[in-house]
């Protein structure tokens, strides 16, 4: 019998704990498939965040280290400086990467730290139950913005890709989404490029994935995917923000 599809070796057999309709599962699989296809699973060292993906170390089939809130890029820096020829990646949410860990993120990028960051932006704090994230949209209702996010009291959402792409040390920065098959396929390509940038020792790479949180958004999985497309994508345009890989061609 011909095998037409099988589970990637990049994931363990541990069942995901994620809520129904959450896109973490898709992104996990894309990252895992990418590492398998690039043949780097045996030399990959991942850093798990705090937040919904806190158990990422249970899922990726490679060595893993669990970091404190926001510190994943610093932990990854330490690992990479010890093992410059290994493949080091972080997997972080918006609260982790764009609030408590902003300094770690910006400076890892500024140093051109040769690591890959997978950034899950679902515009809300998931694990703590739905509070405002730095990426929550203007007007978005959350537990801590019950009347909607207002710029005058809560400030503006942070566009990480736009911000980091201004830094010399950033090698590959792209924003993708996973709300339909076409976008999932494109996200896979982006993640692969990010890992290739690291393999080619180009510097810091980050893929921002606009993701869903049906539970904390109070929507059905389908409505949530539609919300990414209709609302999030308007404020966070998809696309490649920086690509030093192209310069090689």
């Amino acid at each position: 019998m011909t095998v037409v599809f099988q589970k990637t070796k990049g994931l363990t057999d541990t069942p995901f704990h994620y809520c129904p309709g959450c896109t973490h599962g898709i992104v996990h699989r894309l990252v895992a498939e990418t590492m398998e296809e690039l043949g780097v699973l045996d030399k990959a060292i991942g850093v798990a965040p705090v937040g919904c993906a806190v158990f990422a170390y249970e899922y990726f089939n490679c060595d893993m280290q669990e970091a404190a809130h926001g510190r994943a890029p610093a932990v990854a820096t330490g690992i990479k400086r010890v093992h410059p020829d290994k493949i080091v990646f972080t997997y972080q949410g918006d609260g982790d990467l764009a609030a408590i860990g902003t300094a770690e993120t910006v400076h890892a990028a500024a140093r051109g730290e040769n690591i890959t960051v997978i950034f899950i932006n679902n515009a809300i704090y998931g694990m703590t139950g739905g509070q405002m994230a730095p990426t929550s949209l203007i007007g978005q209702e959350t537990l801590t913005t019950p009347y909607g996010r207002k710029p005058e009291t809560n400030g503006y959402p942070i566009k990480m890709c736009e911000m980091l792409s201004t830094l010399e040390g950033a090698a590959y920065i792209e924003r993708v989404s996973v709300y339909d098959v076409k976008h999932v396929l494109n996200a896979k390509k982006a993640i692969k490029n990010a890992f290739k940038a690291q393999i080619n020792k180009k510097g810091f790479s980050m893929i921002e994935v606009l993701s869903s949180c049906p539970t904390n958004w109070g929507m059905s999985p389908n409505e949530a995917l539609k919300w990414i497309k209709d609302k999030m994508e308007q404020y966070y345009p998809l696309g490649v923000y920086k690509n030093t890989l192209e310069e090689e061609k």
């Binding site: 363990t12 850093v47 669990e66 510190r71 330490g78 690992i79 400086r81 010890v82 093992h83």
Partner: protein, 354 residues
Amino acid sequence: MAKVLMKGNEALAEAAIQAGCRHYFGYPITPQNEVTAYMAKRMPEVGGVFLQAESEVSAINMVYGAGGAGARVLITSSSPGISLMQEGISYIAGAEVPCVIANIMRGGPGLGGIQPSQSDYFQATKGGGHGDYKLIVLAPSTIQEMAELVQQAFHIADKYRNPVMILGDGMLGQMMEPVDFDILKKEENKIEEKPWATTGKGTRNKRNIINSLELDPQILEKHNIEIFKKYQKAAKEEVRYEMTNCEEAEIILVAYGTIARVAKNAIEIAKRENIKVGLIRPISLWPFPEEPFKKTKDHVKAYLTIEMSMGQMIEDVKIAVNGQKEVYFYGRVGGMVPEPMAILEEIKKIRGKK
């Protein structure tokens, strides 16, 4: 190599390199800046990594990553910087990653000053970060001893898979003394395999995971008990102290670090006045040495703890003495250093008491 004249901070850095440390992450803060400068120059010469982080918070997490990845790794800072590192230190202890942390203390609280102090004793020995954990804390009193203890610290950190802290003060960091690196214990510099480290799976069957998260209370309790067994072992095997003139002493001074040297001067002056004074100098602050107090409590009139703080180590001294003798305190703070004559005055006051 003959003796070389070095600043305490430089000796600390050189001793780490000679102990096989090839990764240093730090952030400048006075009075330990010579370490960062020394490492920036020396690490490239030995094929090592010097990285100036964007903050102490980042630096300690780089240490967590590098230590987890199997390297001998050093971080140094001074009081306010060490406060910022507490989150990372708790994680490192929880995840059982070895590393060496040096705190070259300055006055506090808050921004405080840049002059020497010993007011981080509680933070170093009682926790500082959240959760049940212990650091093994070593306090040198000379620059030679600084070099020796740094090397032992790497060995102890690996042995227990736990952070070890070198607790010095600004005076020790800034003063110059001759150091002989040849007499250091070379066998402790041998780095053993770390099969638990995140090095990439390679041909290993099992993935290595470095982690401090346990949501199941029963498993977390088990983890806490396991790491405390380790601390109990350290409490037996890593006790270090020095006793000077204690045999016939009527008053025994208790002091650590540079102030123990001032205390020794006070003892000499007292001797000229026919007052018999001894000194117990804890070298390991955790585990705190209790034996010298057991050995001396029968013949001494009282203990006098001397610190550059408002009185922190005195609590451990009182526990060790266990109410069997009086324990007095003399201290200066804010960067002021107790003087021998002032200590002598305190000794005389105690002698005058019935």
